[in-house]
């Protein structure tokens, strides 16, 4: 009976720990995705300055894998760990991006790049503040639950 209880406790701790690790990993992934988006804005800006090609092609090429734009809003795959506010920011940036002359479009790219970088810095700060916390909290909550159950 004791052995079963022990295995049960171990499972609870592992599950809670895994949950904590996943949350922590999603924090890191979000920061990484925002860095990729910020690089995509640079690529987009550079390609627009070359001129000639249509904006939808350039957007398709520049966006990181897992991120799609349908002309109105951006859709992100779950594994990118982006929040709705991030998607909203990128959607606002991409919507009607090409409807001005090159200089204005590049200016817009630069201002949104600053916003995305700001968002990325926030995400990075969250990683620094909460990455360990989430992992530790996961395991601690697992241990607490096991103790209560014991």
């Amino acid at each position: 009976m004791g052995a079963i209880k022990l295995i049960g406790c171990m499972l609870i701790i592992l599950c809670c720990g895994f949950f904590g690790v996943r949350l922590a990993a999603s924090l890191k992934q979000r920061a990484k995705s925002l860095t990729e988006i910020s690089l995509a804005v640079d690529t987009l800006s550079a390609n627009i300055s070359l001129g000639g090609r249509d904006i939808d092609l350039l957007i398709d090429e520049a966006l990181p894998t897992g991120l799609t734009f349908n002309g109105q809003r951006v859709f992100a795959e779950k594994n990118l760990s982006l929040r709705s506010e991030d998607c909203q920011l990128v959607s606002d940036f991409l919507k009607d991006l090409g409807m001005a002359d090159t200089a204005s479009v590049i200016k817009r790219c630069n201002s949104y790049k600053e916003l995305i970088v700001l968002q990325q810095k926030k995400a990075q700060r969250e990683v620094e503040e909460r990455y360990r916390l989430y992992i530790i909290c996961g395991f601690i909550s697992g241990i607490t639950l096991s103790l209560l159950w014991w």
Partner: protein, 332 residues
């Protein structure tokens, strides 16, 4: 929504009475394909038009607050919301500001930045070789507040220049006529005939196609047949392109549309001694204007043009004139 669209179309088709006129499917497809650049609301009504109308339509005009207009060979018609046409604008499908903005966005494929130069010149090239004239408030960045769009459908008509070719005796050719009289269509077919050797041996023709209207080139794909021995210089100014063509392509003929500026004329005149004949078009309302309009007068007096084709909106075939006779008549 699509269901109602299909239902409406089916009901309309059932009630439609055929005019018995022969419908060219290819021409209908050209019309339908051009609708990609028209906003959904207007495109749905245009899509429902009878095929006899579609295959003859020359222009689609959208003006803010006005009814959608179609330019046909026999005049202007207005579109009803269910895809009918009538001579009176009352009760017809009206265009609002949102329709124009949406159409402009579709026309530019959301990429105004890559078409700024065209927009500054008042037009946007379309897929299929069509051209849309855009009106609004022009500014440094292109255009703001689009007030009207005129979609000019490009249709290649084979055989329109047969009569010109049979009367042609060498030298430069000026195709003159009012807007919409078919100058570019005739020019295009004449180039094709010369280049493909319809007269005997084929000629090398260099086409300076500043706006991509002659060759109907869009994103590097040419939609019109200009013959086997034609080289097309795209996006270059006419005068500069003419010099470039003579220097590098060694053509028998240099062709371009709508001679207008003095710079173009100067470049053309400087090239005339090179043994290259010029084929061009000019906006001329009537025969008398050939010598009263400065640009055509100087062109004719330069000696570089031997044949003038004078087109009118009423007649399909143009009047072929000898330059010498035109000048003589003017001097008298």
């Amino acid at each position: 929504m699509f269901y109602f669209f299909c239902l409406g179309h089916t009901l309309y088709k059932k009630g439609e009475k055929g005019t018995g006129e022969k419908v060219d499917k290819k021409q209908t497809e050209i019309f339908d394909a051009a609708l990609y650049a028209v906003c959904e609301r207007v495109a749905a009504a245009l899509f429902l038009l009878p095929e006899e109308i579609k295959c003859k339509a020359q222009e689609i005009r959208l003006r803010c607050g006005k009814a959608v207009a179609l330019t046909m060979p026999k005049g202007i018609y207005y579109i009803t919301p269910v895809g009918g046409v009538q001579k009176d604008a009352a009760g017809c499908l009206k265009v609002d500001k949102n329709d124009l903005n949406e159409s402009f966005r579709l026309l530019c494929r959301g990429s105004v930045y890559s078409r700024v130069e065209q927009i500054k010149n008042g037009y946007v090239s379309m897929k299929g070789g069509h051209r849309a004239g855009v009106c609004g408030v022009f500014c440094d960045g292109g255009i703001s507040f689009v007030s009207s769009i005129n979609y000019r459908l490009s249709r290649q008509a084979f055989g329109t220049a047969d009569y010109l070719l049979s009367a042609y005796k060498g030298g430069g050719v000026l195709i003159a006529g009012p807007p919409g009289s078919g100058k570019t269509t005739l020019l295009r077919d004449f180039i094709r005939l010369l280049s493909s050797g319809a007269q005997g041996s084929p000629y090398r023709v260099a086409v300076v196609d500043t706006r991509g209207e002659i060759s109907a080139t869009f994103e590097g794909v040419s939609y019109n047949d200009l013959g086997e021995n034609t080289d097309v210089l795209l996006g270059v100014e006419k005068g500069e392109g003419t010099e470039l063509a003579i220097r590098t392509l060694y053509p028998h003929f240099v062709a371009f549309d709508e001679i207008g500026g003095k710079d173009e004329l100067k470049a053309v005149l400087s090239c005339m001694g090179a043994g290259v004949s010029l084929i061009t078009t000019a906006h001329v309302g009537a025969k008398a204007e050939l010598m009263t309009r400065e640009i055509t007068r100087e062109l004719l007096l330069s000696g570089g043009i031997s044949t003038v084709v004078l087109l009118s909106r009423a007649e399909k075939r143009g009047e072929i004139l000898n330059t010498y006779e035109v000048i003589k008549a003017w001097e008298q």
